[in-house]
Amino acid sequence: MREAGLAPFIVGLPLLGAVVLLVFGRRIGRASGLIASGAIGLAFVLGVITFARLLGLPAEEREATQRVFDFITVGDFSTGVSLLVDQLSVVMVLVVTGVGTLIHIYSISYMAGDPRYSRFFGYLNLFAAFMLLLVLGDNLLLLYVGWEGVGLCSYLLIGFWFERPIAATAAKKAFLVNRVGDFAFMIGIFVLFVSLGTLDLLAINANAAAMGAGLSTAAGLLLFLGATGKSAQIPLYVWLPDAMEGPTPVSALIHAATMVTAGVYMVARLSPVFEASGGAALTVVGYVGALTALWAALMASAEYDIKRVLAYSTISQLGYMFLALGVGAYSAAIFHLVTHAFFKALMFLGAGAIMHVLGGEVDMRRMSGLRRAMPIVAYTFAAGVLAISGIIPFAGFFSKDAILASAWIEGNFLLWGIGTVTALLTAFYMARLYIRVFEGRLETPEGTHAHDAPALMAAALIPLGVLSVIGGVINLPGLVTLEHFLEPALGESEVPTGVLTFLLPGLALVAGAAGLFIGRRLYMGEGAEARRARLVAAGGPLVEAARNKFYVDRIYAATIVAPGRALASFCADVLDGRGIEGVVNGTATFIGRSSQSLRHLQTGYVRTYGVTFLFGVVLVFGFLLTRVVLA
């Protein structure tokens, strides 16, 4: 096995940055942002070098692991901190470090003046280190360490402004909901270990078929439940919209581009386990993904908070990725993961720039016409909108088309249909967001003055905007494609042939264009208000439900949170308060009461004690005497 070369440094650099910033951050002060950006930037350079080296090798040799040190050794079981560099992990490394570097640079400007400036960058670097460990780890244990680590950083960063109770609550919610998924993930790991005796990813994949359908279905479903937590799918997606309480760069990095894609990466990485179940697990993955995509798109269409629209959109796009995984199009899922990282991070950073100049305003009803005041933000954002809507030749067109085409080729027309409807909805809510915020007459909330993004923010927005436009080329048919590159790691994927080559992308394009057109009709020009009112009247209860997030939060509150609280207060008030404390306090009360009557024996007079003493002596002597006499 070849050495993984630079991989330990790719993880190590951000980790070192995090340690330095978290320990000495206060003394470092303003330079923290530069240090953090430098650490992740250098990791990106190392990632590019690793990628170039892999390209220089023949396809079948593009896989290397390196044991950095032993982690746990018990009897004849041993697992190490070993890193796996192959086609899949190097793509993930490039996304994490590449997008991560841009977001770090953006944060230097966005977070300037925050009292916990260096701590923020320490957390960001720590997150990057854990995320890189997650994608580079060559065994499930290490993947799990990274998985929990990014969850921790997510918690710390959502609750970064913990003085605001709403942010602290959102952080707790994210952590707790993720725990549900993580627990299932952990049991899934146990199932795999018990049945295969190894945690090594490559060994698991090689032997997955030997598990039998039952066990691999169980393992697959448990792992997928873990993925629904981290990647915000039904039923565990509820934390992601609330997570928007964190600083916007965090939303862009963790809750759009990287951490939430960990579930997609994990399912793709362990695809043989899912396939060994004879389709059952994959079917669940596909349908949950498709349903989530549609469900979240509906909610995004009714939301007014810019960041929450983007959050629902992220959930929806992650649903697409799981849909792709479900139909066995692993490389299409990873392709969409990459392009989504570009355009979603871009749109979050754009939203952050708007909040930055409008004093934190996120309600799209209170702004309009910002294109005139902030052209850089507007045009890069437009590139993101077109990309996510799947308009040719923007990045999202190619990746979304690859997913829909795979569903069609698999013969799963229901998933294809849901995906296409969602594509239309996606384009619609994005058009709605863009038109409301950037078009029309310039309006900003009272007391704010709109101006374009500062230089450092633009420095992150422009590259991401360019990538959103041209990101599709990494998978253009006929070139050195991502799909072809990933093939040894993820298996071959089918591409449409004949008339479908043009028909399927054409249909996807029509859906996207139609969505944009509907959005334009409803939010721009003469009579838009009236048309909107008619739509709301026609939609009736559906619109109302979507505005209320389909009552899911309330249902969870009633069915899970409330019984949990009731059980907790029963334990606290009845079991502990009356039961355990009753025993303890009862003992004390009994002793106290008895003492009340006995205390009068203590008179304080010497003679009383003397008489008692004498009485005792006589008693003892009397007893001894009787014994002597009787003997």
Partner: protein, 102 residues
């Protein structure tokens, strides 16, 4: 010279001890109580000496010396305490010092 029977000494010691007990329990003056306690101690000493003679064993006599030394030491400490209590309360009445009670 006729031997006095040991029982006389024992009876005398018992009498002395009983007087000591009754006195110590009935009197209120700390000095007086102290004297009665000394009386009880010396009654015991007498018993020791008597038995020592009866059995021709010197251990009892040796023990008496110890008792005397300890009694002397005890008298020093006891009198010092009584002196201090008297100074504080301007009375040597033990019933006045009854704070340690319910």
């Amino acid at each position: 010279m006729t031997e006095v029977a040991p029982s006389y000494f024992l009876v005398l010691a018992a009498l002395l001890f009983s007087i000591g007990v009754v006195g110590a329990l009935t009197r209120r003056n700390a000095i007086v109580i102290f004297m009665f306690i000394e009386l009880m101690l010396n009654a015991v000493n007498l018993v020791f000496v008597t038995f020592s003679r009866m059995w021709g064993n010197l251990d009892g006599q040796v023990l008496v010396f110890f008792v005397l030394v300890v009694a002397a030491a005890e008298a020093v400490v006891g009198l010092a305490i009584i002196l201090l209590i008297t100074r504080r309360r301007e009375s040597a009445n033990v019933d006045d010092a009854h704070l340690l009670r319910w």
